[in-house]
């Protein structure tokens, strides 16, 4: 009962300075929105990447020459396949295509699939020459539908016509936005790539715990190769998003700093009015604990409200409204940028950390400066 009465008084005293309180609340909420957006988005993308790519190739073997990525001889697939523990080594053909018409980069991928239909593909996978399947982003930017024609300029600077046999569904945009899939033979011709070379090798390993051993053996068998295990690949995503999150936080660090300065200013200088008020409260019979409780409520009332509002807002921004604030920063120069609507993977630990790191310092910065005034005798406080 006493506690709630003191909360009532704390709210009344916050409302006595409505403009200041509103300003703090708005700035604080915005800060939480930014922090929470970055944390939610990076965590969700990271988790999604790990979950989606879990069925990718266990091992990718690339060849490097003079520090650069080189095409790998198809014959190397046999060498790798002969390594004990390897169940298959498949040469992959893929590469990039700059579309001067739209200014976008496409990723061209050679796929010889036995089964032409895919759940996330409207239509079918291309089966022969002059056919291709494209991602939703490519379809949108080139304004083509299934069975339409798509003209690309090949390595000989000659226009090649492809019939779109399938478009990847929007749900798979995070994976397929810029993809252009066709069988390997026509893709080689399109790129002008000799038939005995491939971009890299996708290797499947029988026992997942042996991937590192196999990678070591590949490195020994093909000294100029660079094996990349799936574990490393997923770790890259962890690093990438941590880094990106950190980068965004750095961008907003100035805002954060400004807020800290404000909090510090508030913390270090208890205004004469506030000091006098504490003296009055003590003189009329408030205990030190009552005064400190009052200050704690004042801090908590603002910070809890700001946290809850800010987090809810950030949640909506990230998972429902496509992160419009960060989208601009994240998009960069990408012409084909999939709509950011990640699956809501939320880390409760992260939420708790954010709450702790935003609420506690603020409450402390309101309570601690009041401490000294609250513990001295009231007549001394009022005298000053």
């Amino acid at each position: 009962m006493r506690r709630f009465k003191i909360l009532e008084y704390a709210l009344a005293s916050l409302l006595r300075r409505p403009v200041k309180t509103a300003a703090i609340l708005v700035v604080y909420t915005l800060m939480i929105v930014v922090l929470a957006t970055v944390l939610l988005l990076t965590h969700a993308l990271k988790t999604e990447a790990v979950n989606l790519l879990a069925d990718g190739p266990e091992l990718v073997v690339q060849r490097t020459m003079a520090g650069r990525h080189e095409l790998v001889p198809v014959a190397a697939a046999q060498t790798v396949a002969a390594i004990p523990g390897v169940s298959a080594a498949t040469p992959r053909v893929w590469g990039y295509y700059y579309d001067s018409l739209t200014g976008a980069n496409y990723t061209l991928l050679g796929v010889d699939a036995a089964e032409p239909s895919l759940e996330l593909l409207a239509g079918r996978l291309p089966q022969g020459d002059g056919e291709c399947a494209i991602g939703a982003g490519v379809a949108a930017v080139r304004k083509v539908a299934v069975n339409d024609d798509l003209i690309l300029i090949d390595a000989n600077n000659i226009g090649a016509i492809f019939t779109v046999t399938g478009i990847f569904r929007a749900e798979s945009r995070l994976l397929t936005e810029d993809l252009l899939v066709m069988p390997m033979a026509p893709l080689r011709r399109f790129f002008g790539m000799p038939a005995e070379l491939a971009t890299d090798l996708a290797v499947s390993v029988r026992n997942p715990s042996e991937v590192d051993t196999v990678a070591n053996k590949v490195k020994r068998a093909l000294p100029d190769s660079r094996p990349i295990t799936r574990k490393e690949l997923l770790r890259t995503y962890h690093a990438v998003f941590d880094w990106r999150g950190g980068m965004l936080l750095a961008l907003f660090a100035s805002a954060l700093l400004a807020f800290c300065i404000m909090a510090w200013d508030k913390a270090t200088g208890l205004s004469a009015g506030e000091r006098r008020e504490i003296g009055i409260l003590k003189a009329v019979g408030w205990d030190t604990a009552d005064v400190l409780l009052l200050k704690a409520w004042e801090g908590l009332a603002v910070s809890l409200l700001a946290f809850l509002l800010g987090f809810a807002l950030a949640f909506g921004l990230v998972f429902w409204w496509g992160a419009p604030l960060l989208g601009v920063v994240l998009r960069g120069w990408s012409v084909l940028f999939p709509e950011l609507r990640p699956t809501p993977y939320v880390d409760l630990y992260q939420v708790a950390t954010l709450a702790f790191l935003t609420i506690v310092p603020y409450v402390a910065s309101t309570v601690i400066p009041a401490w000294r005034a609250a513990t001295t005798d009231p007549d001394e406080v009022m005298r000053q």
Binding site: R2, A283, W286
Partner: protein, 230 residues
């Protein structure tokens, strides 16, 4: 009859062990009985206010003993001292010390927050106290918009809201003209008739000579300069 408030060789030094140390109260012994009205008279700087804060448990003496209702308070831990202050004393400060941005009612309710009272009871008590000082119709006005005399009545209502045994007033007539001063002293007289103990610090001869005052204690340089029944 044991006195309600008992001071034994009480001293109060501000900024002790510093070159600007001031001994505001230099060894005062004083007894105040329940129901008595005592005036502390003396020129400014004679230690009246410091003595009031010691009597009212707002500050602790540097040495000596303060006893309230038979209990020694000068060595009590802060928490209990606060309780004694809240339950036994009501203060009317010279500068009133109201919170200007709050309404009259909210100011009067301040001493009730730490008590185990419901919101309804708090409002009832505040209304009753405001009734006593004839300010019921101004309950929702902000204190900053009130005149000096009205502010003092708010301060009296706040002092009385906890039904204290002792009312302590510091220079109550300092900011009042003679008509308002008489009105105030009549109000004090009524409170005294209701059984309240009054301790008033003043250098106003009007107060010292008023029939409600039972005893005048004269102070000079922090020492007693005379203690006489009037």
């Amino acid at each position: 009859m044991t006195p309600l408030i008992c001071l034994d060789d009480v001293r109060k030094t501000y900024h002790p062990r510093r070159p600007d140390a001031v001994e505001a109260v230099a060894g005062i012994s004083l007894r105040i009985n329940a129901g008595e009205a005592v005036a502390l008279c003396g020129p400014s700087g004679s230690g009246k206010t410091s003595l009031l804060t010691l009597i009212g448990c707002m500050a602790r003496p540097t040495s000596g003993r303060v006893t309230v209702a038979g209990e020694e308070v000068s060595r009590l831990p802060e928490r209990f001292l606060t309780l004694v202050r809240r339950r036994t004393f009501g203060f009317v400060f010279q500068q009133y010390h109201l919170i200007p941005e709050l309404s009259v009612r909210d100011n009067v309710m301040l001493p009730l927050y730490p008590e185990a009272l419901g919101a309804g009871e708090m409002a009832r008590r505040a209304a009753a106290a405001l009734d006593e000082v004839e300010l019921a119709q101004m309950a929702t006005r902000r204190v900053a918009h009130l005149s000096g005399g009205e502010q003092q009545r708010v301060a009296i209502a706040r002092a009385m809201v906890n039904r204290p045994r002792v009312l302590i007033a510091d220079e109550p007539t300092a900011h009042l003209d003679s008509r308002l001063s008489v009105e105030l002293l009549d109000r004090f007289a009524a409170l005294k008739r209701a059984g309240l103990t009054l301790v008033v610090a003043t250098h106003d001869p009007l107060v010292c000579a008023h029939p409600l005052i039972d005893r005048t204690v004269r102070l000079r340089d922090g020492r007693l300069d005379g203690d006489a029944a009037t």
